[in-house]
């Protein structure tokens, strides 16, 4: 805000343009008193830097830079000037010109030297100066209050012009351009504008317009060097030739009473092609071969199933209970083999490594059990302080990754479980999604919760973070494809989708809107083609997202049979 001091002798009356302008002035005080912004008597030190850049056109431009005459409607309590105010009929445009009963001098605080001043406003001001010069000649006539107060500004400028002529310089002229962009100008003003602008070599008639929406993001970083030596036939995938991925579910099952809790792990698909799911107090086994569904057992009514996991051979399923108990069931016989106690809080994540079962609980405890022996607890893994929600042994059993509600990812070496090999704090939210790359053993993908939304890729030999993706939503699970160099992530709010990313280019192949509410769990079929997702909308969906082409070699030599599956419908 700058105010202009027009030091004309005042009459007693004050012309308030509040009425004329139709806008409330910012400073409604009608009294000609010094405003706090007035630095008028202080010689400005800011003047030269800007004008120095004005170059040869300096004289005209200097004046031009001061937009006083361009009349912000925001400050309109102008004082009555002695000059004749001939109405031009234009609406009030005057800037606030305060009178001070001193010798006529215009010293305007200029305290915005570092601002960018576009030429347009400059020229506007220039023309207004001209107007002032011409129109407010008759100084002698005494005061009349008139509505068309653009002349007020003009007279101010008249003074300023005279000042200029007197060699006083215009170092005090203030600049406040932002208020002045949308003024209407009188025809005279326009005429001057154009002539002055022409004289200054400015172009009034153009405005620079930018197309405001941000351009779409590049799907991947581009290395131009590679582009310059690019083969004629690109090796990469063209935008229009990307892998076709089915976007509709292969099958949808009901999953009533599925607990909507991010921290639990209630879905697993065995190598024998059986899907185990925990629904409330019950564990159901759905055979993907036959479509038959069987209830394995129910917990007591005061607790619930908090996690489950198939053993590596697909014969047993371990079930974590809300009380902290861990049960191991023989699925074929439908009998409980044993219960393992030790946790005091619910067991929310577990992972098998041959005969070892690692379980993580709500209080951050991480136990290693040997399920064959009576004293089953063979190790305590101390690292986490928050609920363990992700736990995954590497395929060869040499490393274990754990993620918790303390936003921590710990990577353990199977040979020394006393302390984690690496602790990674890059995530800003709970880490539930963990997945070991099937074709590169030391590559681990981890995904963070809703405040993080990142997928990080780690080299677990060196501990280095090798890649990251910002997914834009809570990452609830990650599954590497066994047949494509791709990874699927499932997400919670806001997308509730399945996204498939190429690795290592990190190009998003597709995003499938999968469920109506957040996808909680996912699991890959033993042949690696189908992803099962369970969501808070109480449905279990099967997606054939990694459909193999006939004859295409698998990335992973897997002994798994390619059963074809899927026949019947609802889980119960």
């Amino acid at each position: 805000m700058a105010s202009v001091d027009v030091c004309t002798p005042t009459k007693g009356r004050v012309f308030s343009t509040r009425m004329a302008g139709g806008r409330m002035p910012l400073t409604p005080s009608p009294k000609p008193k010094p405003s706090p912004m007035q630095t008028s008597n202080v010689p400005s030190i800011h003047t030269t830097p800007l004008f120095a850049t004005a170059g040869s056109k300096s004289a005209a431009k200097k004046i031009g830079k001061s937009n006083i005459a361009k009349a912000s409607p925001k400050r309109l309590d102008s004082d009555l000037s002695e000059f004749a105010l001939t109405s031009t009929g234009t609406p009030v445009k005057s800037r606030n010109n305060r009178s001070r009963p001193q010798k006529s001098s215009v010293r305007i605080a200029y305290n915005a030297a570092d601002r960018f001043v576009p030429n347009r406003s400059a020229s506007e001001a220039i023309c207004n100066i001209g107007t002032g010069k011409v129109e407010s000649r008759p100084k002698s006539s005494s005061s009349k209050v008139q509505e068309g107060s653009s002349i007020l500004a003009s007279s101010a400028f008249d003074i300023s012009m005279r000042d200029d002529l007197l060699g006083r310089g215009i170092d005090g002229l203030s600049i406040d351009r932002e208020e002045n962009t949308s003024e209407k100008k009188s025809p005279n003003t326009k005429a001057y504008e154009s002539s002055v602008a022409q004289a200054c070599g400015l172009n009034l008639n153009t405005r620079i317009l930018a197309f405001k929406p941000a351009p779409p993001e590049s799907s991947r970083p581009v290395d131009l060097r590679a582009q310059y030596s690019r083969p004629l036939k690109p090796a990469g995938l063209n935008a229009q030739f990307r892998r076709r991925i089915l976007t509709s579910p292969d099958r949808v099952l009901d999953a009533p009473n599925l607990v909507d809790d991010y921290y639990l792990n209630l879905l697993d698909w065995s190598c024998n092609n059986q899907v185990a799911i925990g629904l409330g107090q019950s564990v159901y086994i759905w055979s993907a071969d036959t479509g038959n569904v069987a209830s394995l057992f129910e917990t007591s009514a005061d607790t619930y199933v908090s996690s489950l996991k198939w053993s590596n051979d697909g014969a047993y399923v371990s079930v974590g209970i809300g009380t902290g108990e861990v049960q191991i069931w023989d699925v074929e016989d439908q009998t409980k083999l044993r219960s393992m106690y030790g946790h005091e809080t619910r067991v929310s994540a577990m992972s098998w490594n041959k005969h070892q079962l690692t379980t993580g609980a709500r209080n951050g405890w991480l136990f290693n059990h040997d399920v064959r022996i009576a004293q089953h607890k063979i190790g305590t893994l101390e690292s986490h302080t928050g609920e363990i929600c992700g736990l995954e042994w590497r395929g060869d059993g040499a490393q274990l990754a754990s993620g918790g509600n303390d936003n921590l990812v710990s990577i353990w070496d199977a040979r020394s479980l006393q302390a984690p090999k690496f602790q990674k704090t890059n995530h800003n939210a709970a880490v539930k999604a963990l997945s070991w790359c099937p074709w590169q053993h030391n590559l681990l993908a981890t995904g963070g919760g809703s405040h993080d939304r990142q997928i990080h890729f780690w080299n677990t030999t060196t501990g280095a973070r090798v890649n990251s993706i910002d997914t834009g939503s809570q990452v609830t699970s990650l599954r590497w494809s066994t047949s494509y160099k791709e990874i699927a992530s499932t997400s919670g709010f806001p997308d509730n989708s399945i996204s498939i990313w190429q690795y290592p280019t990190l190009v998003k192949n597709i995003e499938i809107p999968a469920h109506e509410s957040r996808v909680l769990h996912s699991s890959l079929s033993p042949d690696g083609q189908i992803l099962a997702t369970a969501a808070a909308d109480e449905s279990l969906k099967f997606w054939k997202i990694f459909e193999k082409k006939a004859g295409a070699p698998s990335l992973v030599m897997s002994a798994r049979k390619e059963n074809d599956i899927m026949s019947s419908s609802v889980i119960r």
Binding site: A210, F211, P213, L224, Q227, G236, N238, A239
Partner: protein, 240 residues
């Protein structure tokens, strides 16, 4: 004046004197056709620059035959839609002769620094007696732009225009050899110098010129249609 190719369909000149031009056998683009040609040129320019300067990955582009060249245009749906939105407004402005410059600014995504600026100056050939050539002479700001061509009394044939555009695109393509390598991820913006009285849709807003401070400037070729002349200039940040 070549006694060359036969008149084609798009020569419906509205101006009085153009009516009896038939014998000349040259192809006179009416203003509308000329505007269309220039906007089309802009569309291919944007695509070419995005491709050549690696704003988007090369596999997102497909080659189409145009101007006797293989032009690369984006096949990414989002980018396509984005350019289409720009182009539709640009065409309106072109036809209304509201535009004096089109600028494509390439900006470093991280620092927000403008690293490259492609400027296309559009001049309306005043000497064409088209009634709509009311525009002012080219703005003096482009001191480094060569003066407008003497006249367009010799109307250009389609082939000549195509050849000029082809040469210009070759030059844009070749300019990657002297332009500094863009190592950081970049994004782009489209600016338009429009007349003050143009209708401006809400997607467009006032902007500064996004000039490159202390940039090197290179004037590229120009091309002319009967009604327009387009000068091309690229300015870029010198590598530090």
């Amino acid at each position: 004046m070549d006694p060359a190719p036969p008149k084609t369909k798009s020569s419906r000149s509205k101006t009085g004197d153009a009516g009896e031009k038939d014998k000349s056998k040259t192809h006179k683009l009416a203003l509308k056709g000329s505007s269309k040609l220039v906007s089309e040129f802009f569309e291919y320019s944007i695509n070419t620059i995005l491709y050549q300067r690696g704003v988007y990955p090369p596999e997102d582009f497909t080659a189409v035959k145009k101007y006797g060249l293989n032009m690369l245009v984006t096949s990414d749906d989002q980018v396509k839609a984005y350019i289409k939105k720009i182009m539709s407004q640009l065409k309106t402005w072109m036809t209304g002769q509201k535009i004096s410059k089109l600028v494509i600014v390439i900006t470093n995504k991280e620092t927000g620094e403008h690293v490259e600026r492609w400027q296309f100056d559009v001049q309306i050939n005043k000497l064409t007696k088209s009634k709509s050539s009311k525009r002012e002479a080219p703005n003096q700001e482009n001191a480094d732009a060569p003066p407008a061509p003497p006249a367009s009394e010799q109307a250009l044939t389609d082939d000549e225009i195509q050849a000029q555009i082809r040469a210009l695109f070759r030059q844009i393509t070749a300019s990657v050899t002297f332009l500094p390598e863009l190592t950081d991820p970049c994004t782009f913006n489209v600016l338009v110098y429009a007349d003050a009285d143009s209708d401006v849709p809400i997607e467009w807003g006032d902007s500064d010129a996004k000039e490159i401070e202390g940039g090197e400037k290179v004037q590229l070729r120009s091309f002319s249609t009967t009604n327009h002349r387009v000068d091309t200039m690229v300015s870029y940040k010198l590598g530090s």
